[in-house]
Symmetry: C2
Subunit: 208 residues, 2 copies
């Protein structure tokens, strides 16, 4: 992982860290591993990131920056109906999960012992929840939200269905393909959130 010309040392370290996390040795990534991968001394890493938690946090930010999150979310924001907004949001977030998951995992593990990591991850999840809330609100505006659910509860439900844990279970442990996952989640979200009448009006997404 030699630094490619005009990358700053900081960026080189972040890229190396990301790469190691994505390589997924199974074992946790150490500061010295990152240093070695970045072709830099261990202390150089500490110079830029005082603690391991900081490195992980910044790596997550770095991935966000490199991933054009706004572009991913545009289709959902521009949707013309509640159900479409829901579908587009599930696509946007559901397809972003595999991008961030290795770093997310490290960050979550770090949360065990580090306060900053904990709040960083909590904030990310809160942001994701905003998207859920917006989709639910759009469903509600269309009169398609199940009468058995308050907006709050519906948001909770959607938020948990879209959790990274759920993705890990389905894709990694059950071996579903990414597109199976996204399609199934759309179906599941509809089944969970929509009023029965609204559900009947929607086309099936896949026939398995």
């Amino acid at each position: 992982m030699p630094r490619s010309q005009n990358d700053s040392t900081r960026t080189t370290i972040l890229k190396a860290c990301r790469q190691l996390l994505e390589a997924g040795s199974g074992q946790p990534v150490r500061m010295s591993d990152v240093a070695k991968a970045a072709g830099v001394s261990r202390q150089a890493v500490y110079l830029h990131f005082p603690k391991r938690a900081d490195l992980l946090i910044e790596t997550a930010r770095h991935i966000d920056d490199a991933s054009d999150v706004d572009t991913r979310l545009a289709p959902s924001r521009n949707a013309s109906s509640g159900v479409e907004r829901l579908d587009r949001y599930i696509e946007a977030w559901g397809n972003y999960i595999p991008v961030v998951i290795p770093t997310a995992r490290a960050l979550i593990a770090m949360s065990e012992t580090d306060e900053d990591a904990r709040t960083t991850w909590a904030n990310r999840m809160a942001a994701m929840r905003e998207g859920c809330a917006a989709a639910v609100k759009a469903l509600e505006a269309d009169g398609n939200l199940s009468p058995a659910l308050s907006a709050e509860r519906a948001t909770d439900l959607l938020w948990t269905l879209l959790s990274v844990g759920h993705w890990e279970d389905l894709v990694e442990r059950c071996g579903w393909s990414q597109s199976d996952y996204v399609d199934s989640l759309k179906q599941l979200a509809r089944a969970a959130l929509l009023a029965p009448a609204a559900q009947a009006r929607q086309p099936r997404i896949t026939a398995l």
Copy 2:
């Protein structure tokens, strides 16, 4: 946590470990913490449990033993219909989650670095999946399984809906009560798995 008369040292340690995990300091429980809580030297702990992973694994077993798992599962096994079997299984497992969750969390964290912990947890999840598969089979036998789902997929779906991560999200992070969780999960499982016609035939569980 003085040892109560006729408990062996081993049992005293297991109880202390469980208690510490359930106290939930936020910080990971150390071997020395367990020793102190059990009123025993740190080495005594290592005498009974060579590695931390062993202690955690045995603590999980110990909780199982103390919790009459078979009794919990009986209502599901004896159910007279697929839907009832499903409901009873969700109750059984859903209400067991809060019992094991502190230990489960420690075990999952340990899986990061320890092979034995990893396979132990995987085995527990595989066992839980058996219950899901049985419920799905019962639904299928009644002709109530959604035609859009294979038994395999339906099992995957139910299994992930019942994952401990999902419980943590809903109960701990969203603040749902345990009974809200169980009721919602029954509803959700029905919405996800049942054929539309079968769904219409089922009574609503709660009106929120």
